[in-house]
């Protein structure tokens, strides 16, 4: 067996271009896919025209808003390009330098503050968009809508607090400032108390007794009902509360998942292409009949090819992880876990590659077949639930279960993430697939010699 292994390594050494491509190409593709998954969409460039006078504070209900902080937050979510005039903003959007322009008018603060007064005036912001690129246009729409919704929510909380204060004044009584003058408001509670104190003083049979009772009743009912208004206002300000509960167990972190995707894609391509090509080469060089008619059994040849695939793919993926660890944090203390996952995934991919190599019987055909089958399966395995119809997703689940990519990704992501769930189920899944594809490869080898 060892001499077969050495022979395959010698052949790989004699084909440096193919071997380099075999390693580098999947690694590059894998890293690109991994980072594309882990990074959000590109931050849109938005021209930002702030016409609000510098240093003007925004005070609502006695609380001053942190305008500088709000601007920093805004510019963290979109790439703000400060401009000095609307014309400049328009030019940037028109030329495509900016995807949109956000214009804050000079009276924005006054209008926002008016929301807490008795004569509110709705504030507006203006957005200029360039919808040449529909994907980016939707991104800008979503981002700006999200930002405006968030701002509205914060302001509505303040306005609700002001409204609640007015209600409290009406109920409890107190002082109220209007146009620089201070007024004393009696309040419903005090009104009821005064009237109830006066009621016993009325002579028996007084014609005012009945009317006074009715006023006392009204003030009691009004107070009781207005008491309920405050929580209702609170509910309006925040009508839906989200309580998130994950019923699928604790998933791996996004970084672990992205690294897992990168590693799994590399593992898949390197192993499948290597094993399929290596096995097909035995046929293409006409060596297979000569090899297997003597001391080498076909099953032993398959085992050697799978071992070759596992060994080389383990080396390649570990080198890749070492390279990735320059850019992302990888917990090397988890090596026993993700090492086992890589070996199990490599074995399943190798058996899959052996089945392809045995079926295709030519190196070029096997390489083409490996790409044509592996790539769609990798993409299908990344389709999330809820993004396609339930029936189609059921089909996708079956495909995922039949090919090693999904369980390998699952195992490697779990192996990389200390907080992730255990490896048992995906490793068992991979072991079953290894045996199944091994059997298929062995059956295909029966007609391999001719």
């Amino acid at each position: 067996m060892r001499w077969l292994f050495i022979k395959d390594l010698q052949i790989l050494r004699r084909s440096p271009l193919v071997t380099t491509l075999l390693v580098v190409y999947p690694a590059v593709i894998a890293v690109l896919i991994g980072f594309a998954l882990s990074r959000g969409p590109e931050t849109p460039r938005v021209a930002f025209l702030n016409e609000v006078p510098q240093g003007q504070p925004l005070v609502l209900a006695g609380t001053e808003f942190d305008i500088a902080g709000a601007r920093s937050e805004l510019c963290a979510r979109i790439q703000c390009i400060p401009v000095s005039s609307e014309e400049e903003a328009r030019d940037m959007v028109r030329s495509g330098d900016a995807l949109a322009a956000l214009i804050l008018p000079p009276d924005l603060i006054e209008r926002l503050e008016s929301l807490g007064s008795l004569s509110p005036s709705q504030p507006t912001v203006r957005v200029l968009v360039n919808e040449e690129d529909p994907v980016k246009a939707r991104l800008v729409d979503d981002r700006i809508s999200s930002l405006v919704t968030e701002a509205n929510f914060r302001i509505s909380k303040q306005v609700t607090r002001i409204s609640a204060n007015y209600l409290s004044l009406l109920l409890e009584g107190g002082q109220f400032n209007l146009l620089g003058q201070t007024f004393n408001v009696l309040g419903l509670k005090n009104t009821q108390r005064i009237l109830e104190a006066l009621r016993p003083e009325l002579p028996a049979g007084s014609p005012f007794a009945d009317a006074l009772d009715r006023v006392i009743q009204f003030s009691r009912l009004a107070r009781q009902n207005l008491n309920l208004a405050s929580p209702v206002l609170g509910a309006i300000a925040h009508p839906i509360e989200v309580q998130k509960e994950d019923i699928s167990g604790s998933p791996p972190s996004l970084d672990s998942f992205a690294i897992g995707v990168a590693v799994t894609v590399t593992l898949m391509f390197v192993t499948v292409l290597l094993v399929a090509g290596s096995l097909a080469l035995e046929r293409e060089e006409n060596v297979f009949p000569r090899l297997t008619r003597g001391l080498v059994r076909r099953t032993a040849l398959l085992v050697e090819k799978v071992a070759l695939g596992v060994a080389l793919s383990l080396v390649v993926t570990l080198l890749m992880l070492a390279g990735l660890s320059l850019f992302v944090d990888i917990d090397w203390g988890r090596f026993p876990a993700f090492g086992v996952a890589i070996v199990a995934g490599g074995a399943a991919f190798a058996a899959f590659g052996a089945a392809i190599g045995a079926a295709a019987r030519e190196v070029r055909a096997s390489s083409l077949l490996a790409f044509m089958i592996s790539l769609p399966i990798a993409f299908v395995s990344l389709v999330g639930s809820g993004t396609v119809s339930p029936t189609l997703f059921d089909v996708i689940k079956v495909i995922r279960a039949l090919f090693p990519f999904d369980p390998a990704l699952d195992a490697i992501s779990r192996g990389l993430d200390a907080a992730g769930p255990g490896l048992g189920v995906p490793i068992l899944h991979l072991a079953i697939l290894t045996v199944a594809y091994g059997v298929l490869a062995r059956l295909a080898l029966r007609r391999f010699a001719f």
């Binding site: 001499w3 022979k7 010698q10 052949i11 004699r14 084909s15 060089e285 006409n286 060596v287 009949p289 000569r290 090899l291 008619r293 003597g294 001391l295 080498v296 010699a449 001719f450």
Partner: protein
């Protein structure tokens, strides 16, 4: 029947030629009885029996689809017969397929060493050196096989088949794809092997080659062994044989038997 177990030495000099009509050692080294092979409904071999002797050159000839390659692949252990028997284990038989079965990315020496390890040849170094010398490729031992000419690749192919020093050597269309000079050198080599005592069974479409190098001819047609004898006996068995050359006589023989 007792078969010689002692290893047969290789011919001392590459290119040693066997003379026509040389005597044959009558010890049988391989024989088959009633070989039958079916592919689905089609019977590719219909009870083929023959025997080959030590140092004999046996040519297996016949039209396309006659069963020549099937017969050789059963003798080599590549296929299993459905019934019948072969007296010798495939592991004791050298097999040289029509197309060179070599790793083209490996060097001449690496290919030989690989096979020597696989065949568990006792003294690998000596066996490899001997084959390099006999094939005349010692000075190209470090060249990748893919860089050699077709003729030289065929020499490696034959050398690989001989590494385990088999008593019987099977050659499937050995000269196909070779130019006349390469064919000539190949046959010199093969005749040298036979002269050293190796039994050579070869299949060919080239009737002239079979007549020239085959001491005995086994004619197959539609899976049946129609004839087993010398070329002169075949010529005599063909109708109106006196007026024809050997190829015409062979065609007439087949036609006379309904093929």
């Amino acid at each position: 029947m007792a078969l010689p177990d002692d290893p047969i030495p290789f011919p001392a000099v590459f290119g040693e030629s066997a003379t026509a009509g040389r005597s044959i050692d009558r010890r049988v080294v391989i024989e088959t009885h009633g070989l039958v092979k079916r592919f689905g409904e089609r019977e590719a071999l219909k009870g083929v029996s023959f025997a080959a002797h030590r140092g004999e050159l046996l040519a297996v000839i016949g039209p396309n689809g006659a069963g020549k390659t099937t017969l050789l692949s059963i003798l080599a252990g590549i296929r299993r017969q459905d019934s019948g028997s072969v007296s010798r284990d495939p592991g004791e038989i050298g097999w040289i397929p029509q197309q060179a079965a070599v790793y083209r990315r490996l060097t001449v020496e690496e290919n030989l060493r690989l096979v020597a390890r696989r065949e568990k040849v006792p003294d690998r170094d000596a066996a490899v050196e001997e084959m390099l010398e006999q094939t005349g490729l010692g000075d190209r031992r470090d060249d990748q096989v893919g860089t050699l000419s077709g003729g030289n690749q065929q020499r490696i192919n034959i050398a690989i088949g001989l590494l385990a020093r088999p008593l019987v050597l099977l050659l499937d269309e050995p000269s196909a794809g070779l130019d006349p000079r390469q064919r000539e050198r190949l046959w010199e080599f093969v005749l040298g092997l036979a002269g050293g005592g190796t039994t050579v069974i070869f299949s060919t479409h080239n009737i002239a080659e079979a007549e020239r190098y085959g001491q005995r001819l086994l004619v197959l047609a539609d899976g049946e062994a129609l004839f087993d004898g010398s070329s002169s006996e075949l010529h005599a068995a063909a109708p109106e044989s006196g007026a024809r050359d050997f190829e015409q006589a062979f065609v007439a023989f087949l036609r006379d038997r309904g093929h």
